[in-house]
Symmetry: C2
Subunit: 105 residues, 2 copies
């Protein structure tokens, strides 16, 4: 099931722009006080780094992701999620757009 809306308490108005705009997200705080972000990765092949562990939940479009260099590429589509360890990197490739919620911790 795709998460179309989330309860929020407050939203940070300024966007996070990464990779020349190939990834744009907005941070917000949930009603429960958790920090999350909603974002989109446009057509590109990118390497992301994490600080905290993350769960990337797809809410539209799709991506392929590779959690370890040389490892298998897997597909993530709307309603699916994947987990990324803290202090790590992962590769992502997107044909059109990958809309996501980033959950931390």
């Amino acid at each position: 099931m795709t998460t179309e809306t989330l309860n929020a308490r407050s939203i940070t108005t300024k966007a996070n722009v990464y990779f020349d705009g190939k990834c744009v997200s907005h941070s917000f705080e949930t009603a429960e006080g958790e920090k999350k972000s909603v974002g989109v990765v446009l057509a590109s092949e990118l390497t992301f780094g994490t600080a905290a562990p993350e769960i990337m939940e797809c809410v539209g479009g799709a991506c392929e992701y590779q959690l370890e260099e040389g490892g298998a590429w897997q597909t993530c589509t709307a309603g699916q999620s994947f987990k990324v360890a803290g202090n790590s990197k992962f590769n992502i490739r997107v044909a059109e757009a990958f809309h996501y919620i980033c959950h931390y911790g």
Copy 2:
């Protein structure tokens, strides 16, 4: 004064992507039930159309805007706003990034 955060009730998780990603926004509903969006326009020169009247409030970066074809170009920077009539068009040019809140009505 720049609006850095806004109270919200819910956020739409899927981004609005316009002009091949030159403009990306996320829609949300305020604690008072008003629909707004937060977005960013990246380096570009674009023509936007409105349905409802809009107030564009700059929360980071800057843009130049032209409300009528052939009219004066004006600058909008963080903390400033400009109004756009409903069912109209306006031109916008951005050198780096223009982060905004779009208020409707």
